[in-house]
Symmetry: C2
Subunit: 440 residues, 2 copies
């Protein structure tokens, strides 16, 4: 039964122009159809999707869209006077950048789920939005349905955030979870993820950490009120993580996760570190239990303490839900002066990865003969990297040395690895994992 | 280093009138002092706490407040022309209700952390706020620092929410966690919670579920756009939960948690069930890992899927962080017409607890003689309550029968318990726990 029409709120029609109609766009059309009456009753806003710009007019779509709505002309959708706000779901930088800029210049609010756009040219678009006095909203761009962006920008607007740590890529989280649960190796887990639709046929953008890096840049920008772009993010993917590493981590009470980390470095507000890499996370950490395709973001604030937001980070309907929340937020504010755009703190600089200080896990495959351990240990010593624990595993007449270091500096660890690699008795240095919570 | 003053945003002074200055009020004064420059640089809003109404002017406070700010006259604070918005942290219904009403009638936005106020007279205050066109914000009233209210009201505004399940009382969660972890009984765990400041000297409001009921009413109201008051919530506390129940639950793969559950019942939107009671929750559920004084709320939406928000549900600084987020949100919108108040769906009715259908755990202490089990089992049969599993535990020459039922109707289970209690061979029926996820 639909909600009673409210006596207080006269119904107001808001015209939505949709750019792109793939999985998320189709789901948005579907959810607006399902929930339109309910939304109108609750908010007084009658959403109407008046134009949908697509590349291929004749493509079969999961959701039926009347032919009159579909058009090739995305610029025409933005300019159409019946379009009050624009939803950009094309993805990528161009033509999304030009279209979003056109909409903002015409003082039309924009809702986007486009992480690449924001992580590369978000600053210029925010400035346009600020100048026009209209919102540019992107709840769906970082973690799908998880209401994270608004939490950071509004609820935590007065909070000094120390660190944001996220599992923001469902594909890699699924792959690592499956390796651990099913005891399968990386290749098998990726193949399974592809079969189930959690990974693309070319999984590089996910497994190499590019997707997570874009999201890390957006997270860092809003958490620290700074303009941080994807290129600022140190990035490693999960391709080198082995089942043996995961097993070893488990024995020590850790899980292995691809984490996006954005944190303040040092006492002031001037330095920020932003990085994406496979990480050893204590099993007791709330993020350690986040499995399969789920995402979660953990926030450490000075007054709020520890917060975590968890949910579906991808998928048509979850992403459409976040887009729809933004559309309604923008629709409610149509015509009112908008001041929510946060200016950027230009004084922030990026702390290079070389300056990271944490504990490290790494493996060194060596020839199994006397004296090798001593020479390997000596290399750690040369570079001031102190060893917390070492375990030797014999396999096929070969030996693998598994190290956990005390807190060390990244540059020193990298120098250690370089020197180890040059030793004649060392066959391979692998499995570098940084430890979260190992910084103290 | 403070952020650079932004060239875009001229600084705007916003006068805050504070009603009440206990733990949360003191922490708010402190956080505004710490973060004021940063906030002004980032948002252009210079918060100034211009008046603080307290009961006792000469009380020692953790935070120094200049004598000129303090006053007995709360009504005067509301009326003061230098007060642009009012923060109500008095708690309880009167005089908070009158003061909040006065502020709203004077078109001053109100931020409150007062769950009793909202759970009892929230509807009338929302109507006043709507009429005046100013916001009444209460992020801190439900789950402390967790940015939940805004998530439900704004981010999920277009979402059809099916169910909200929360751990919303830190005291009871701490007590149940400690019973399980330390293997201590209820009385010991409560005493420890009192010692550590997690429980009041009189813990009734927490352990009997009153605090959670108020929060459940607020959650249900915002999730289902309905006016639901504390009196609508079915309530049971944790006083009857024993270590033996928790042990048994663990063996079956469950945790015992005091949950606030608000859910749609049946196919339409017309019926809502709202309840607070100790619950058996599958150990794999994301809420099962929420330990100690932490809170978390799990949301099941039709498009968004499963979401969880986790964090500190109480404490001065975490609560002050949520209040501050609301203050900034209201400050930013000062002077702009406000339309965010959601009208209530008057068609919603409350589904009585008797109509609940789920699985049940209960224990029956019986005399240890032949034929007793058969007569006990027969009682379940009379009332159409089908038994999924039964275990008999011998203790001190007595027998305890531990039952898990198949999905049954609450009214039938209650009738079963009443008849069992009347049997001569039954000494006690105890430990009733409803199973979450046992509804299917």
């Amino acid at each position: 039964m639909p909600a009673e029409p409210s006596p207080f709120v006269p119904e107001r029609r808001v015209g939505v122009g949709l750019l792109g109609c793939g999985h998320v766009g189709g789901a948005l059309v579907e959810v607006v159809r399902e929930q339109g009456d309910q939304i109108a009753a609750a908010t007084g806003i009658r959403l109407e999707i008046v134009k949908v710009a697509v590349r291929n007019l004749s493509k079969q779509r999961a959701v039926a869209i009347s032919g009159g709505l579909l058009t090739h002309d995305a610029h025409g959708v933005v300019a159409d006077p019946s379009v009050d706000l624009v939803v950009e779901l094309i993805g990528g930088i161009e033509p999304a950048r030009s279209l979003v800029a056109e909409a903002l210049k015409a003082a039309k609010p924009v809702v986007t789920a486009n992480k690449e756009l924001l992580a590369n040219v978000g600053g210029e678009l925010q400035a346009l939005a600020h100048h026009a006095g209209v919102p540019l909203l992107f709840e769906a761009a970082v973690a799908g349905a998880i209401p994270l962006v608004r939490a950071l920008q509004v609820s935590l607007a007065g909070e000094r955030i120390r660190r944001v740590v996220g599992i923001v890529n469902g594909t890699t989280n699924y792959v690592l979870s499956q390796m651990a649960l099913e005891r399968i190796d990386y290749g098998e887990a990726v193949a399974e993820a592809q079969r189930l639709g959690y990974a693309e046929r070319d999984p590089a953008a996910d497994v190499e950490g590019y997707d997570a890096s874009s999201k890390a840049a957006i997270l860092a920008s809003i958490a620290f009120n700074a303009e941080i772009v994807a290129g600022d993010v140190y990035r490693e993917g999960i391709e080198q993580v082995t089942l043996a590493d995961i097993d070893f981590a488990h024995r020590l009470g850790y899980e292995v996760k691809l984490l996006a980390v954005a944190e303040r470095v040092g006492a002031g507000d001037a330095k920020i570190a932003v990085r994406v890499h496979p990480t050893m996370l204590p099993a007791s950490h709330p993020l350690a239990g986040v499995r399969g395709p789920f995402n979660a973001v953990f926030v450490e604030g000075e007054a709020a303490g520890e917060l975590m937001l968890y949910g579906r980070g991808a998928g048509g309907r979850p992403t459409a839900s976040a887009v729809l929340g933004d559309v309604l937020d923008a629709a409610r504010r149509l015509g009112a002066p908008h001041q929510a755009t946060v200016p950027r703190n230009a004084a922030v600089s990026i702390s290079p990865i070389d300056e990271l200080r944490t504990q490290y896990y790494l493996t060194v495959d060596v020839q199994d003969r006397s004296g090798v351990l001593a020479s390997v240990a000596a290399v750690f010593g040369h570079h001031d990297v102190s060893i917390q624990s070492m375990e030797q595993i014999e396999r096929d007449g070969k030996a693998r040395l598994v190290f956990i270091t005390h807190v060390a500096k990244e540059a020193d660890v990298q120098a250690t690895i370089a020197e180890l690699t040059s030793l004649e008795a060392v066959e391979r240095v692998g499995g570098l994992l940084r430890v979260l919570g190992g910084e103290r």
